[in-house]
């Protein structure tokens, strides 16, 4: 655990720093992919950054909307560096919407653009695992194993390391096999891989958000995403079949 990096007089929160690094590396890879797929690299990276920025704004606005009274009295609080006042669902929705609209306006082909963005998803997933390792979030269930991590007063599954290894593995899979084939395959392979490893690894977490009945929400969500990815994989394969290769 290393929640803050002390660089001289500056205390930087390690987690957001690692995520920023992930965005930088992921966008760079997405640009390379865009080149390879014959897309305009600047448009693709603009789309990625626009999605992220609109996502951040949406997450803050979504949070404020839930506590509208407090924020109405003090609207300046919307502009705060506080990391605990973001709401993920609204952020995701806003970011995806903005990226979709921008992509349409710029005439980017959907599937190939998604293929270019696949490495960004993989790298962000790995960066999130590292960020959780630094902050001690996303901790594992208590377990005495020779590779257990002592965290929060117990020996636990090093769930953040599992997640990091999974992200690396899925990224490797994509690198080796996901960059050929019909348009959209690379993206769906990345998504299916990340969803499948989430379903598997969530079982070792000690902080799962639970639904009634003790179901782990991340596993249920992961299964839905996995099912969608597998169904779309077949659909896109079918639609790509006659013309072969990329549409």
């Amino acid at each position: 655990m290393l929640p803050t990096l002390q660089i001289g007089p500056l205390a930087m929160p390690t987690g957001p720093l690692l995520l920023l690094l992930g965005v930088w590396l992921g966008t760079w890879l997405a640009e390379r992919e865009a080149d390879r797929l014959g897309l305009n690299r600047d448009t693709v990276s603009a789309l990625a950054l626009l999605g992220l920025i609109v996502g951040l704004v949406g997450a803050r606005l979504g949070y404020a909307a839930r506590y509208s009274e407090a924020y109405a009295a003090d609207p300046l609080s919307l502009i705060s560096n506080n990391l605990a006042t973001f709401s993920l669902p609204e952020g995701l929705a806003a970011g995806l919407l903005a990226a979709t609209l921008y992509g349409r306006r710029q005439g980017l082909p959907l599937r190939r653009t998604l293929d270019a963005l696949a490495p960004l998803a993989g790298v962000l997933s790995g960066a999130a695992a590292l960020a959780q390792l630094a902050s001690g979030d996303g901790f594992g269930a208590p377990a005495q194993l020779p590779w257990s991590l002592y965290l929060w007063d117990d020996y636990r599954h090093p769930s953040q390391l599992y997640a990091l290894l999974a992200a690396l593995g899925v990224f490797g899979l994509w690198w080796r096999w996901g960059r050929a084939g019909f348009a959209g395959f690379g993206f769906l392979l990345m998504i299916a891989g990340l969803a499948a490893t989430t379903v598997f690894l969530e079982a070792f977490r000690g902080d799962s958000l639970l639904l009634t009945g003790g179901w782990r929400s991340a596993q249920v969500g992961g299964l839905i995403v996995l099912a969608a990815a597998l169904v779309w994989m077949r659909r896109w394969a079918e639609s790509a079949q006659p013309g072969q290769s990329r549409t």
Partner: protein, 189 residues
């Protein structure tokens, strides 16, 4: 990649998808979190674990608790008057108690009253002139806490309250009892 050839054949792709989702679903089902397991930790009737405490009335109606004897070596003997081996081992328990009480030994004879008659228990104790505390487990509490499976069952608790030996069945001889408590009595109280 092998998946790609699967993809091109719907007769193979849909079963593959179904299997993946089935395995994932079973895993998700199996890794649900038991939501009501925040029960307080119980002591367990197993060697190395703290002896589960109990409080029962003795034959004079006074309440006696296992915890009262912390610092002494305690033999907890679960018995019933109709059980042959239980009857047979009582003299050995009495002898050991007579001999070693001064060194810090206590014998608690927990009568499994729920499956015995109190009168029969009393007359057996009188006949055999047992002087160590006899406790009446009328509500079957101790039998359940100590997961009694066969009579007699004997638990040997050290001075710090840990179970150090579990002896299922009998009759126990004096030598067996002494061999199990000798080292424990030697510990500093």
């Amino acid at each position: 990649m092998p998946v790609r050839s699967l993809l091109l054949d719907p007769r193979r792709w849909w079963p593959f998808t179904a299997i993946v989702l089935l395995v994932g679903g079973l895993w998700t089902l199996g890794s649900r979190v038991a939501t009501t397991d925040e029960a307080p930790r119980q002591a367990n009737p197993h060697e190395g674990f703290p002896a589960p405490d109990f409080a029962l009335e003795n034959l004079s109606g006074e309440t006696v608790a296992l915890a009262d004897y912390r610092g002494q070596v305690v033999i907890v003997n679960l018995w019933a008057s109709w059980c042959g081996p239980c009857r047979a081992e009582m003299p050995a328990l009495q002898n050991v108690y007579d001999d070693l009480a001064a060194d810090g030994l206590v014998v608690l004879g927990v009568n499994s009253t729920a499956q015995d008659s109190e009168a029969a228990a009393r007359s057996f104790v009188a006949e055999n002139a047992l002087t160590f505390p006899i406790l009446l487990d009328r509500a079957d509490d101790v039998s359940q806490t100590y997961r009694l499976r066969s009579l007699p069952s004997t638990f040997i608790v050290d001075r710090s309250g840990l179970i150090r030996a579990v002896l299922i069945g009998g009759p126990l001889s004096e030598a067996v009892l002494r061999s199990k408590i000798e080292d424990l009595l030697a510990d500093a109280p």
